[in-house]
């Protein structure tokens, strides 16, 4: 599936992550930009975690920006899933 709208989920609070999604043209692939207060400790983990959610949701073409303040894995997955759903216009289960 391909995101249609700009969307976001999360906050800039400590232990949360802000995820922004921008639609891109078909075939341009995934671009994931991450910044994090724990980049030195958890960069690989953040990348893996975000890509796993994109894989499950079959999102191949997207620009995802994540600004992390030390969120735990379940928080990261929930924020990415919500942002993606909003960008697809599938709002069920999200506010």
């Amino acid at each position: 599936m391909t995101p249609k709208f700009k969307a976001q989920a999360g906050t800039f609070e400590s232990s949360d992550i802000m995820v922004l999604i921008e639609p891109v043209a078909e075939g341009s692939g995934r671009q994931v930009d991450i910044s994090s207060t724990v980049m030195l400790q958890f960069e690989e983990d953040l990348k893996t975690c975000i890509n796993q959610v994109l894989d499950v949701m079959e999102i191949e073409n997207v620009h995802l920006i994540a600004k992390d303040k030390g969120a735990l894995t379940p928080t990261i997955k929930a924020r990415v899933e919500t942002a993606v759903k909003r960008s697809l216009g599938i709002q069920e289960g999200t506010l």
Partner: protein, 519 residues
């Protein structure tokens, strides 16, 4: 050679000399192997009625006859508002003085301006109980010529008495002083309270300069620093930013996490067997640590307990407890807010003490040795109860040893309060990155997820369990936390030793290596 914690300690470091490995908390005292006070006092005789007043800070520094390789010392009672040390270093630099050893009782956010002087090689050695901010980062990158030495507050007194630190010029900022150099921090526009760290510098430095922005009519009372140690007095426009030196009163945290940890810690104290009339108590000024005082205050009132004394690191919260009669006296080496200065000045039960009396391991009356309960913070703890309060998550220097190891060693009950993880970084490690306080002197670690009791205190663990405290094995707690946060990537470290952590007896308890991924 390896020390008692298995850390490889070099026998000799260029520029600092021979090192002794840490052998245990009380090893030096038990063996009688303590540094003697071999440093002679300085002959300062002068004729009657000679003026000590100087025209400017520059004039005073010139009179001290500065030279390459000298040691400049100061106290950190001005904290983040200090405006004196940076002025002095700039003057020395202008005079072309090089190879300076800086021996401040601590360094704060006000001292990031030292960075260019370290990078240019003007400052080549640093002794301090704390190093923070950009200065900590560039030292961690290896930019200080010789390794920095991190000492405790008590250890610094011992360092000066034994000649490890030999101050040539002591610059002692005071919020009030007179023409003879009697000086205090208890009053004046830039009041900062106790001047406890300055006493040792006044007694041992070759040249002692009192720097004030508030010259008062002779005599200055109380004379925290006394005239017979002081060579020169100089007035400056300002000793610093009063709002960053001390302001208002200290508030208790509103963070639910800190309050929960503090509530549990107060319960631990209540059931430790020490919660009774005559208890003595020290608490830190930050977050969960200070919040313990709030709950202890309620518990003491509820059970009609009157304590003996508090020491520290004094906040207005401690002053309130003194005034309510919950404790009979405060022994104050360092005051944290403006309200405390007033109490130091006016309340005879609020007693200003020197750092020597506070925590020097080599005297016969350190207050820390008479302490029942201390509550301390931590950046990291480990499964052997060692505590790190100096290096951050990347291995960078960003904290302070302060009185941590002094009070932990002396107190009957040393309680460390910390969250089990901070912003995804687990706090309980297999081994802390840098040991400042050895686990031998830590009794209890209190987190929001459980209380860990040092296995050397089985009776305490049993008493706490009986009282309904959630006592957990520290290794189990570590596993639980790791499963939530994940395991952080390895730190990127080089082979260069950028700092030594001196235990309070002068032995080396740990070394800090350079960090390669800092910019």
């Amino acid at each position: 050679m390896k020390n008692a914690l298995g850390v490889e300690i070099p026998e000799y470091i260029d520029g600092l000399g021979e090192l002794q490995p840490y052998q245990g908390v009380w090893n030096s005292v038990l063996k009688g192997d303590v540094a003697s006070q071999t440093v002679p006092t300085v002959l300062k005789a002068q004729k009657a009625h000679v003026s000590k007043m100087c025209d400017s800070l520059e004039d005073a520094i010139k009179k001290s006859q500065p030279f390459d390789g000298m040691t400049v010392s100061c106290h950190h009672h001005l904290r983040g508002g200090d405006g004196v040390l940076m002025q002095a270093i700039a003057i020395l630099d202008k005079m072309g003085i090089k190879d300076i050893t800086l021996a401040s009782s601590s360094l704060t956010s006000a001292h990031d301006g030292l960075v260019p002087y370290v990078e240019s090689g003007m400052i080549t050695r640093i002794f301090s109980s704390g190093i923070r901010g950009r200065l900590g980062e560039i030292i961690s990158m290896g930019k200080l010529k010789h390794p920095a030495v991190i000492h405790s507050h008590g250890g610094r007194v011992r360092d000066i008495m034994s000649g490890r630190i030999k101050p040539d010029l002591a610059l002692l900022a005071a919020s009030a002083a007179d023409e003879e150099g009697n000086a205090t921090g208890a009053h004046g526009p830039s009041a900062f309270g106790s001047m406890g760290y300055a006493d040792i510098d006044a007694r041992y430095a070759k040249t002692v300069v009192v720097v004030t922005d508030n010259l008062v009519e002779y005599p200055c009372v109380p004379p925290s620093v006394r005239q017979h140690f002081v060579d020169y007095v100089v007035t400056v426009d300002s000793i610093g930013d009063a709002s960053k030196i001390a302001s208002g009163t200290t508030r208790i945290t509103s963070s639910p996490m800190d309050l929960r940890i503090a509530r549990i810690a107060a319960t631990v104290i209540e059931h430790s067997g020490l919660f009774k009339n005559g208890m003595s108590f020290q608490v830190g000024a930050g977050g969960a640590s200070l919040a313990v005082a709030k709950f202890l205050r309620e518990d003491m009132k509820r059970k009609s307990i009157q304590g003996s004394f508090m020491i520290g690191g004094v906040t207005s919260y401690g002053v309130d407890m003194l005034e309510e009669g919950l404790f009979k006296a405060i022994f104050d080496v360092q005051s944290f807010d403006a309200a405390v200065s007033t109490s130091v000045l006016n309340n005879p039960q609020h007693i200003e003490i020197t750092c020597d009396q506070y925590a020097n391991p080599n005297n016969c009356g350190a207050m820390t040795n008479k302490l029942d309960v201390v509550v301390l913070g931590a950046l990291e703890v480990d499964v052997d109860f060692n505590v790190n309060v100096i290096t951050g998550s990347s291995g960078e220097i960003r904290g302070a040893s302060g009185g941590h190891s002094d009070t932990a060693s002396g107190a009957n009950l040393s309680v460390v309060v910390c969250p089990s993880f901070r912003g995804r970084l687990p706090i309980i490690m297999d081994r802390v990155h840098t040991v400042v306080t050895p686990g031998e002197s830590v009794d209890v670690i209190v987190t929001e997820r459980g209380v860990c009791v040092n296995p050397s205190k089985p009776n305490l663990a049993a008493a706490l369990k009986k009282a309904g405290v959630n006592v957990v094995d520290i290794r189990d707690l570590k596993k639980e936390v790791d499963s939530m946060t994940g395991i952080p990537a390895e730190k990127k470290l080089g082979d260069k030793i950028v700092a030594l952590v001196e235990y309070r007896d002068g032995t080396i308890i740990d070394v800090i290596k350079n960090v390669t991924n800092l910019e």
